[in-house]
């Protein structure tokens, strides 16, 4: 009996020892797993962006584009994020919404720009979306909601255009889990502080929107998909209050007023 137990234990330990030994090898880079995943993400990003490009109108007004671009560039350069990896698109939509898509596509609706009283508020939302991109939340959410097999079949052209459309729509109209949202909020505050942008403006934006939430819910997509705005504003303030940084404004008040004027006229 003792012999059998010893033999059994040796067999089990042999299994775990081989596993432990094999774990030491960096299989994922050896088998280029990351490269395949990156390729899938790249294709998905392009596919979803195509859907929006076809069905919506992109705002290419140089004043607005360059203003938003300078906000993104400021956040990226201060946080050592490759600026090229974030592809910003401004869409003519009344909804107050912004969302991230795979491969760094970041969509901002003109409704959101109009709702932001100053560039810092818009920066806050943009930083939050960049955080989702950097923390790989977009792919995580997609895999969870649609499944990897469906995502891969989309990139190989074996999936109907309806599924692609629906998934692209889901990205703009549904939230991440609460945990991921909070993670992105905190990361966004870090980004804002590093780029010397006052995070309080981001919190204010959330407060303001939480108050109007009950009045107009039709166009508040970004808020309705990001629940508990007040709670979020509170932990943002809480997290950023001890940080002693001298904040700078990114765009002049004049430029911001011009942008809003332009958008209202359009």
């Amino acid at each position: 009996m003792k012999k059998i137990i010893i033999q059994g234990l040796i067999t089990i330990s042999l299994f775990f020892a081989s596993w432990l030994f094999l774990v030491q090898i960096d299989w994922t880079s050896l088998l280029k797993v990351q490269k395949i995943t990156d390729k899938t993400e790249e294709k998905l990003g392009d596919l979803f962006w195509e859907v929006y490009q076809k069905n919506t109108h992109e705002n290419k007004n140089p004043l607005i584009v360059s203003a938003v671009d300078s906000l993104v560039t400021k956040i990226c350069s201060a946080n050592k994020i490759d600026r090229e990896s974030v592809k910003i698109h401004i869409l003519e939509e009344e909804d107050i919404n912004a969302f991230a898509m795979p491969n760094g596509h970041l969509v901002v609706y003109t409704g959101l720009i109009l709702q932001s009283e100053n560039p810092e508020e818009l920066s806050g939302v943009i930083a939050h979306e960049i955080a989702h991109i950097q923390l790989n939340h977009v792919m995580k959410k997609l895999v969870k909601e649609v499944g990897l097999s469906v995502l891969i079949s989309m990139t190989t052209g074996n999936s109907g255009s309806d599924i692609i459309k629906e998934t692209a729509k889901m990205l703009s109209s549904s939230a991440f889990d609460r945990g991921l949202e909070k993670e992105a909020d905190i990361k966004a505050v870090d980004y804002l502080i590093m780029s010397k942008t006052d995070p309080e403006a981001f919190a204010n934006f959330l407060y303001k929107i939480a108050d109007t939430e009950s009045e107009v819910t039709t166009y508040l997509t970004w808020v309705s998909t990001h629940p508990e705005s007040k709670e979020r504003a509170e932990y943002i303030i809480d997290y950023s209050k001890d940080k002693k940084v001298k904040y700078q404004s990114i765009l002049s008040e004049e430029t911001w007023a011009k942008i809003r004027e332009k958008l209202t006229a359009e």
Binding site: I4, Q7, F15, S18, T28, K140, L148
Partner: protein
């Protein structure tokens, strides 16, 4: 790992064939049911149930085949459900996962080779006792005499 032992008696031609079949059963099931590890076990279990009242030699080898399948079931099921969770949930492919698959593959391959060898030898009436499983079978399977 595998040693040729002396059996209590000389098995007859018919017995040797039946004993060898219990290993063949698990081999065929392995090929058919590769993605679903449970199929191997069901096939071997069915053969075991059918032969548990057979002669000592046949019973002994049925039991050894079944026991080895049981441990493979554990290893393969874990790998199977891990793969399923990677495909359908937000679980990702890690070094840990790949290392597990390779370890499982090595163990499956070893078992596969051992099974083929044992099937051939038992067919000739030679008694083959595996490391650990052989002793375990001795404990479970008692001679009628």
């Amino acid at each position: 790992m595998i040693n040729t032992a002396k059996f209590d008696y000389e098995p007859t031609e018919h017995e040797a064939e039946k004993a060898s079949n219990s290993y063949l059963m698990s081999l065929i099931a392995l090929i058919v049911g590769l993605p679903l590890p449970i199929i191997n076990l069901i096939a071997t279990l069915m053969f075991y149930v059918g032969n548990r009242k057979g002669t000592y030699f046949v019973r002994w080898h049925c039991t050894q085949a079944l026991l080895s399948q049981l441990s493979m079931l554990l290893i393969n099921s874990y790998g199977f459900w891990w793969t399923v969770s990677i495909i359908f949930t937000d679980e990702t492919i890690t070094d840990n996962y790949i290392a597990y698959l390779i370890t499982a593959l090595i163990f499956n391959l070893t078992e596969f080779i051992a099974t083929i060898y044992t099937a051939v030898q038992t067919r000739k009436g030679i008694h083959i006792s595996w490391w650990f499983y052989g002793s375990l079978t001795n404990l479970i399977c008692k001679s009628d005499i």
